[in-house]
């Protein structure tokens, strides 16, 4: 565990994770509870652009591999 990260790096990383969860966690959970809920149609509408992005990234990888 820890890979090539020195002990001080592991401590700092752990601290950063803890701080992120403590500072931003509560507001993120609150936003998740209070933000408008999307209907099934809303989520389906999201599939078109996101699907387009996925296909485009696959195309980019194929082009890069040449």
């Amino acid at each position: 565990m820890g890979g090539s990260l020195p002990v001080w790096g592991q401590v700092l990383t752990g601290l950063a994770i803890l701080l992120l969860l403590v500072f931003f966690g509560p507001s993120a959970w609150r936003a998740a509870r209070e933000s408008p809920k999307g209907s099934a149609g809303d989520w389906l509408g999201l599939l078109i652009p996101i699907g387009g992005v996925v296909l485009f990234v696959i195309l980019l990888i194929a082009m890069a591999r040449g």
Binding site: S4, T13, I17, L20, A28, K37, L46
Partner: protein
Amino acid sequence: MNQERILQGRAQAGVLQTNKVLRNTYMLLSLTLLFSAVTAGIAMALQVGMAGYWIAFIGGFVTLLALPRFANSSTGIALVFLFTGLLGFALGPILNLYLTMFTNGGQIVMMALGGTGVIFLGLSGYALTTKKDFSFLQGFLMVGILLAVVASFATLFFHVPVFSLAISGVFVLLMSGMILFQTSQIIHGGETNYIMATVNLYVALYNLFLSLLRILAAFAGNR
């Protein structure tokens, strides 16, 4: 009759306000991206190491935390340039790493850059033309991004390349959602502050670029 005119006038004022926020956001975003490119170029030319990366990154993060307090003043614009300049500077060592680590590093960097531009234009165009309301994504994006950031920190502990690659893929999807959400917020009047809109879009583009860079390097990088 009078009431109808008043309502029409209010609707027109709303459209004008939305167009103004959109125009100012894209103008500021273009300028900050150019500024970032300049600071990234400087960092690359100076061969700044990873210590410089961390200093610029932490400085950028602190600036980001301070930004909402100054978002309604001219100081906010100066802070946006400081923030984007620092993050651009932090990109320098990363780009140098890719250019030296891979024989086709230059091609990978250019493809990630072009890919980021195409995805941004495509998603913004989609949100602008369909005028769909993506506000339902807010909670999902906030929790998703927080968990993805925590997971990406965790990759520093567990050196599993597949896990790191999967997180990059998740980031591409989350940042795409962020672009749709932010553009939709501007169109529907949910975001009236162009400084905060610019920062949100910039962060999305920055992460999208880095994630594409990682994915392309993993699949097509020649050592």
